[in-house]
Subunit: 203 residues, 2 copies
DNA sequence: GTCTATAACCTGATAGAC
DNA sequence: GTCTATCAGGTTATAGAC
């Protein structure tokens, strides 16, 4: 019992890093347990199977990000001067800040992997558990910027999610320059993305 | 010799479908050859290794898409009434049309996977071979819409690529409605994305 | 809760017959 | 160019001692 949390936590941490780097299929439980410095059998003891480990890992991070987004949205809406920009910020900033606030920098890349996945189980899990966040933001955007059809609204929200994820996976051409701190880089990225997307929503 | 192309082609086709569905690491050569109805040893005979198979597969599709984009860009620039919208269309439309023109519908999902990959070899391969296309588009956008710094330009191009890929991987909330044809759906998607992104570039 | 040992199986790759 | 057979090593999962 005393080490239970520690071991479980270490497994989750190592799994997150390795899944982000090499993907689910290419990462073996042996690599994970070796990296986490725990026994191979611990995975099955604590999670039951590799598939369950993936799901717990997803749940942990998505809950964090969704909570952050909801809180930020509520705060934005409670302001009298709520704008499209402030609503979009509530959606974008929590994702971009995940890495620093929760030490979850690897998760965004895992999320990017999930997008490419045709895995019905994973898609259903995500849509059932976190689809309501998207709907809340759609509602909020409709308040500050009415007139978009439901289809146009969700299409544009998909564009935002795509631009956000792609940027976060650090695949694109823009890398952080040598003299710029991580925080500065993220701030500039956030601002540019918000202004890009709010212009897009107004189009 | 007589069957060489056929076998090679069948392997590439099956690999593309399965890599898109399950990822590189989770797809075995046995699954591929069984799906392609060829002998397991044929992969090594024709490609040498799994890694080479992946690279040939990438090269085949990326060459198609890059050529289509370059041609479309040249055509757009040769028009006296070239606009930001027409340049963005030259970037976006070839990707969205890949599935229908070249029967490469699976490839966009593979590309989305590649984005999430931290595989240095793959990243280097893509950036070395196809980075010039991005640069050509950056130059073209600067002609029709001057003023963006190099960093801001590439940042926004990354947003476009992200929104495009995400949309193409059919992960988002917007699905094609029952009464709408694939072609109509793609056309609407293209137009919305172009207007979203050109507004973003003007912001 | 943690460990070792092992079962049962799948993996990429290749040698060699045809 | 295509096949079978096989290698060496990796995989998840679990039984059972501590």
């Amino acid at each position: 019992m005393t080490q239970a949390f520690s071991t479980k936590h270490r497994i989750l941490g190592a799994a997150e890093e390795l899944f982000a780097r090499h993907g689910f299929g290419s990462t073996s439980l042996r690599q994970i347990t070796s990296h986490a410095d725990v026994n191979i059998a611990a995975v099955n003891y604590h999670f039951g199977s590799k598939e369950n480990l993936v799901e717990e890992l997803f749940r942990r991070r998505m809950d964090q990000m969704s909570t952050d987004r909801r809180n930020a949205l509520q705060k934005a809406l409670s302001d009298k001067d709520v704008t499209l920009e402030s609503v979009l910020r509530a959606y974008i900033e929590p994702a971009l800040q995940m890495g620093r606030k929760h030490n979850g920098g690897h998760f965004v890349r895992i999320l990017a992997r999930a997008y490419a996945e045709q895995n019905d189980r994973l898609r259903k899990f995500l849509s059932e558990n976190y689809g309501s966040v998207q709907r809340d933001f759609a509602k909020a955007i409709d308040q500050v910027r009415p007139g978009l059809s439901k289809e146009q609204m969700y299409l544009r929200l998909d564009f935002v999610a795509g631009a956000l994820t792609y940027t976060l996976s650090e695949f694109g051409m823009v890398k952080r320059a040598a003299g710029v701190s991580e925080a500065q880089h993220l701030d500039k990225l956030t601002d540019t993305l918000i202004s890009f997307c709010s212009a897009g929503f107004k189009s």
